[in-house]
Structure formats: structure tokens, C-alpha cells
Amino acid sequence: MNLIKRFFDAQRRHFTADGRLTRWYPFFESMETVFFAPARVTDQAPHPRDSLDVKRYMATVVFTLLPLLFFGMYNVGYQAYRAAGAVPGLVPVCWLGFKVVMPLVVISYVVGFAWEILFAAVRKHEISEGLFVTAMLFPLTLPPTIPWWQAALGISFGVVIGKELFGGTGRNFLNPALTGRAFLFFAYPVQMSGDAVWRASVTSGGAAVDAVTAATPLVVAAGAAGSGGVTESLTQAGYGAQTLFFGLYPASIGASSTFLCLLAGLLLITVGVVSYRIVLGNIVGVLVMGLALNLLAGENSAPYLSLNPCYHLLMGGAAFGMVFMCTDPVTAPDLHLSRWIYGFLIGMLTVLIRVFNPAFMEGIMLAILFMNVFAPLIDFLVLRSRLKKRIPNV
């Protein structure tokens, strides 16, 4: 402790008053406060303050994302070796996954943090910890074969356009991680969608080039034909309910395991970081829309319409989006009732986009961004009815 303290005390002079790095004080501050909570005291009532700060709030989310990251690494290695024919032991699998995933995470943090420092230095305020969540979420939503420069470009777009231009964490109206992903999705569809990108190659140490084709569950579901329906097509392609639940299939790096998302979601709801209203609303939305489509489905309609709605919760990034993406409190509406509605509509839209829009396989990304934009409107309407009930006092 004393060693660390001495280190920071020694470096402080570069960042304060006459130091050469005065402009970059926010960087120093953010590093120091990771180790030492600042010695600031209140100067007015209420005299005590809650022990919770944004740093702990955001760090909790990052901690719960770590199991998904580790699973993602394993899965990337596992899928690569499986495509190559033989799966060796745990260590080489993890090592391959580590080699593929870790650079993306590092890129995401370094580039995202650089932008954040730049804006914080210009604005002369402290670095907000929202970035640490964004920079962790972003690589988990990417295919493992994404070129490094695209990852850097994506996180830049997400942080700068999705957040900083509007004033930084707390003032952005779009989820920055998803904004970055959506940008890549539309700008570089070849590297972001299709069958070829979801599996890294065994020989790839860095960015993979020769990926192995693997249709994702969403592609299989959309393309399903024949009497057996989607469930059978999925099972034939190797995507049984169990596989989908545990997430051991070619997918984006960390978003495939519904099981881990479920655990993380339960934890985050228990500690009150994630709004259970959004998550439950979302699940209900998916199920209601899925059932509605089941009812609509006729003899000749696409089999996707008749899919058991529970599969929508298992496939693709639905669970990941529900737990980590749409629950971002800043871009969600504020009021509790609005959050139910918001979650519900995201769930419905997710299913609609998946089933009726063959160009966009993964519905939840667009559904969340779409509802991000509508969040203030939901709040506005809910608030109006709430204030009507209030006895005026003016």
C-alpha cells in the first residue's frame, strides 16, 4: 500500500500545477482513484454520504462480464479446433482463444480510454467509469475474426459519436458499445455478418483470415424449410436447446452463453445495478411477440413464425442484450413504468426484426438502438400521466 502510495505521490507533480502533463490530470486521477478513494469531504448537508460511487457501480458490471469473457475465450478456441478436426486439452484451447480475444479487448480499452482521456482533458473533468463497461461490452459483441483496425474504428465511433459528442457518460442517448457495433455492422458487413466470420482459424494468432464457414443459429432459423420446422433444422445443424443455452457454438465472442448471461443478470438484479423491470419486460415482450407470431402462422407461412418463442431467448445475443445492453440506465428511460414498457418493446422488436427482416439476423442490437431513441418519448408520456395525479403546489 505504501509502495503504491509513494508511486502516485511521486508521479503527481507531473500532472499538477506546473508539471509537463498538467493537461492529462484526468488520466492520473482515474488511475489513482482505482487504488485510493479520494479524501473529499462534504461541505454542506447532508453531512454523511452513501458509500456507493459510480466507480463501484460500473466496476460491478465489469466484474460480472469477466466470466463471459473467459467463456468467450474458451469458446473461440474450442470452435476453431473443432473446425480443424480435433480438440486438444483445455490449455491449448484457452491459449488460442486468449490469443484471438485478448488483443481485441486491449484494443478496445486502449483506444476507448484514449478518446475518453482526450475529451476529459479538454472538458477539464474527471473520467467517467462508464467507459470501462463500454470497452468491455464492445469486444464481446464482435465476431472473433474481426480485423483489429475495425475493432479500433468501432470503439472510436461508439465512444466519440455515440457518447462524447453529446457530453459523455450520463448525457448520451445511444448505447455506446452498440453504436460502435452497429457502425461496423453497416460499414463492414463482410466482416460483421454472414457465415464465415464466427469461427477463428486454428492458425490465426492475431486477426483471422481463413475462417471456417458456420451458419449461426439465427441464419439457420431464418432459412429453415420443410415440415420439421425451425427446431428440427436447428437440431440438425447442431444447435439443440442445450447447446444454445450454454453457448458452445460459433458466435460473437462473449454473447452466446444464455446460461452465463442468466447468472450475471440474476447477480446484477440482486445487487440492484440492473433494472429487473427492463429485463422482465424484455422477456415478456419476446414471449408475447413470439406467441403472437405462432398464432399468425398459417400453413404456407415461413416456419420461423411457428418457432417456440423460448428459442428466441436462447438464440443469438438476445440474453446478452437483455442483461447488459438495454439495461444501461443512461440510455434507458428513467421512470419505473417506462422501463417496463421500454423492455417490453425491445423484446417485441427483437423478434419482429429477426423474423421479418432477412437482412438483419440479430434483431436485438437494432431493437435496443431504436428504443434508445424512443426512451425520452416513453418517459414523457409516463411522466405526464404521473404528474396529472399529483396535487399541484405552485
Partner: protein, 456 residues
């Protein structure tokens, strides 16, 4: 007897329950008057340094209403008049004579009350320097003497930690309290609410039909603004008057004895006492006089009034007319190593991110550290979830910052109980209460007192 249940609020979890013993303190050598601490008052000095004063001699008049006075709580000589920045009158210190003289007023027997009209009553209280004890919602200035209040709320206790308990200050003074209630009836309120925390176990002879509402809930349940919010029927109820139980006893004592009342029960608590003590002492007691009773570690902050609502004061100061509580808090000006991964067994929090929440009885260590840096609002909704009057502070403060007056009024800004909870829970460390309070005060001059409370 009606029962109110206030759902929102905060239980800090300080552990130790307040004790019910009381310690009589010797009479201090100096006593003080703090005009600065009477909200909204614009004081004008009526006396000078060196003047001889009696108990009850007017020292200060309000420039806004020269009839409203503050009086000397001691007989003797004015030893000092301390001015702050911009010549604000901080403190008038009176050195007490051994034999104090009193200004004598006409006494008033209980059976004479009925014949009295409210104007005369108010005039006599103003002249005695006791009128500022009666406060008026929504701004919490002293009551407008010409108003006829629809509601008067007598709050016997508060859930704020370290406040004097009614079981102590009412003991043996039940008849005086009845007399006080009779006084209040002279103002002709439609509703006279006498509120008591549901957790209080007062002996039957103290209750005896005096209480109209028992109130359950966490802090700030029992605060008059919260009580009004949960009992009001229409906008016409918004301008209730309120007075604290102990202050009503002062009024009653003034009329019964014909002299300025001097006795005050003060609660002291905080890190030092682990729990709470009561002291029977004088109005305007020097803080050092109470602190001498406590073993004081270094680096303590001295807070007068309340943990969540009080103000910081210097140890050499005195207790104001409206304050009945002195709290010594660990200043907490130190860096905490790896606070981020500390499970927090004894850390106070509203969130569920610290292990202290596993022990509902609680025994948390409270200090004045902010526990974090300033950030933008992240819409965690903690402030809205604790607000006892259902304001959405995170939206109201944004409306205030962009000066959307109509909007923040519609949100119920004037219902704000100024309890401090929104600032307390905010993980971004935004001074929500201060911002809301300042906006209320700024709106005060524009408030339409002739309106019905529904339209501005």
C-alpha cells in the same frame, strides 16, 4: 388516531437505540443568539456591544417584518457581536450575570385563551421573540402571522438520527403541552395534526388523546412536510404551519410564566457517543459546554440541527434557536486504499453493493467523506426511490439547471421536504438537495400567496 405509513425513505443503520436518560448541565457562562441560522430572516441589530440585556430583551428585528424579533436568552451584557462575510450577523454572545433579570410579560391562564384572537396572540409571540419557532410550508420561513392556517402540524419527533425524544422532553409537562395545543387552536386551524413516530413507546398518560397521527416508516417519516404531503386533500392544504413539540412547549411556557422560556433539551450524538444522550440546558447554549461532556477524539465535525439537514459549526459557537441537536461526526478526510474491492461490512449505503446490507439492524460507521468523485447523473433512480414526497430529483434538478420553472414546479418542487436523502444516495455525488432548496428559495419572492396553490 390515524396511522400513516411512509413507504419511501432511508434507514441509516446506526445500530444503538437512543437512551432515555437525561443529564442536567450547569448554567453556562455565555449564551448566544444566531440570527444567521433563522432561515430567510434579514436581521437588523437592535442592541450594541456592551449593552445590558435582560432575558427576553429584543436583540434583532427582521427587516422584512420589523414586528418579528429575536430575543436574548440570557440576562447580562452583550459580550460580542460576530459578523460574517457581507456583514451577516452570525452570533450575538451574551455574558450572563449571576442574577439574571427577566422582561416580564402578562401571563395568560388557560381559561383566558378562548377570549383571545389570533392576531393578539401572534403579536405577543412576535414581541417576545418566539414567533420564528412556527414555520410555514412550502418555503419553511416563519409563519405569516396574518394567515389563517388550514393545517397546523405539531411534530413530536423525527426519524432523523440523534434528535430529542418526546419521551424525555414531554415527561412531566403533559399539561403544559395541552396548554400549547389550546394556544394553537386559537389560530383556528381546520386540522390540528399532532404526529408521533409509531415506534415510540410513550406512557399512556403522555399519549392520552393528544396524538392525532402515528407515523411509521424510515427517515424522514414524521417530518412535517412529508406528513402534509401524505395527508393533504387539495392544493389549499399546501401552506400548513408546523412547529416541533419542544418549541410548542416554549410557547406554552412563555404564556404561563410570563417570561421568555430558557430551558432546552438538547440531544447529542455521533461517532463519539455511539448512541445518544440528552442534556437539559439553556436556549443558545455554547457547543463547547455540551462537548465538554463527551470524550472527543480528534478530527470531529460539529453539526448542529441534524445529520441530514443540519449545518456545520465551529466548536466555539452556540446552538441556534431552532436547533435541538448536536452531532459530532468523524470528518473522514482520508484516502481509502482499495475501497473499490472492499466488501464494506460497516459501510453505510442505500444500494445493495455493500455487505453491510446483509445486516439490517446495522452498525455502520458514518463519516463526512464524499466516497467518490463528481460525475454526471447516470439515472440509477436511487434518488427517486428514496424521495418521501415522490419527487423525481434527477429530473427536477435538470429542469432547474435549464431554468424550466413551470416544469419543475409541476414536478412538485415545492413539496420537497429538504430531507437531504437525494444528495445522500447519489452515486454521482450531485448536490441535489442543495440545488432543489436553492431553487425553492429563488422562487419564494415570486410565489403567489393570494392564489389557491393550484396556479402560480
Amino acid at each position: 388516531m390515524a396511522h400513516l405509513n411512509i413507504r419511501r425513505g432511508l434507514h441509516l443503520g446506526l445500530g444503538a437505540a437512543p437512551g432515555l436518560e437525561i443529564i442536567d448541565l450547569p448554567v453556562p457562562a455565555t449564551l448566544g443568539v444566531l440570527p444567521e441560522r433563522v432561515p430567510f430572516m434579514k436581521p437588523r441589530l437592535l442592541a450594541a456591544r456592551g449593552d445590558a440585556v435582560r432575558v427576553g430583551t429584543p436583540l434583532v428585528a427582521d427587516k422584512r417584518n420589523p414586528d418579528v424579533l429575536l430575543a436574548s436568552p440570557a440576562g447580562g451584557r452583550i459580550a460580542a457581536i460576530e459578523l460574517g462575510p457581507r456583514r451577516v450577523i452570525r452570533e450575538i454572545v451574551i455574558e450572563r450575570d449571576a442574577a439574571e433579570e427577566f422582561v416580564e410579560y402578562r401571563r395568560l391562564a388557560a381559561d383566558q385563551l378562548a377570549a383571545l384572537d389570533s392576531r393578539q396572540l401572534a403579536q405577543r409571540l412576535m414581541a417576545a421573540g418566539l414567533w420564528p419557532l412556527m414555520r410555514q410550508l412550502p418555503f419553511r420561513d416563519y409563519a405569516r402571522p396574518a394567515d389563517q392556517p388550514r393545517n397546523i402540524i405539531v411534530a413530536l419527533d423525527s426519524k432523523e438520527p440523534y434528535q430529542p425524544q418526546p419521551g424525555i422532553y414531554l415527561r412531566g409537562r403533559e399539561e403544559l403541552f395541552d396548554y400549547g395545543l389550546a394556544l394553537l387552536r386559537c389560530f383556528g386551524p381546520q386540522n390540528l395534526l399532532v404526529t408521533l413516530g409509531a415506534h415510540q413507546k410513550l406512557p399512556a398518560e403522555q399519549l392520552n388523546g393528544r396524538i392525532t397521527h402515528t407515523i411509521a416508516g424510515k427517515y424522514p417519516a414524521g417530518e412535517p412536510g412529508v406528513t402534509l404531503y401524505h395527508t393533504r386533500q387539495s392544493a389549499r392544504d399546501n401552506r400548513a404551519w408546523y412547529i416541533h413539540g419542544q418549541d410548542l412547549l416554549l410557547w406554552a411556557q412563555f404564556f404561563q410564566s410570563g417570561r421568555y422560556p430558557t430551558e432546552r433539551v438538547v440531544a447529542a450524538g455521533g461517532n463519539v457517543t455511539r448512541g445518544q444522550r440528552h442534556y437539559r440546558t439553556r436556549l443558545g447554549v455554547p457547543l463547547a459546554h455540551i462537548m465538554a461532556q463527551l470524550e472527543m477524539p480528534a478530527n470531529q465535525r460539529c453539526v448542529a440541527g441534524g445529520l441530514f439537514t443540519g449545518y456545520q459549526c465551529l466548536a466555539g459557537s452556540h446552538l441556534g434557536l431552532l436547533e435541538t441537536s448536536l452531532i459530532l461526526l468523524d470528518e473522514g478526510k482520508r484516502e481509502e486504499f482499495l475501497a473499490l474491492i472492499n466488501p464494506g461490512l460497516n459501510k453505510p449505503t442505500y444500494s445493495r453493493l455493500f455487505a453491510s446490507r446483509l445486516f439490517p439492524a446495522g452498525n455502520v460507521a458514518v463519516d463526512c467523506n464524499k466516497h467518490g468523485g463528481d460525475r454526471a447523473c447516470i439515472a440509477c433512480m436511487h434518488c427517486a426511490d428514496v424521495c418521501p414526497v415522490d419527487i423525481l430529483p434527477q429530473l427536477v434538478y435538470k429542469a432547474i439547471l435549464v431554468e424550466e420553472v413551470e416544469e419543475y414546479l409541476a414536478h412538485g418542487l415545492l413539496d420537497c421536504a429538504e430531507c437531504g436523502l437525494c444528495s445522500y444516495v447519489c452515486p454521482s455525488k450531485i448536490e441535489l438537495t442543495a440545488i432543489l432548496k436553492a431553487a425553492k428559495a429563488a422562487y419564494y419572492p415570486d410565489y403567489n400567496w393570494n392564489g389557491n396553490g393550484e396556479k402560480g
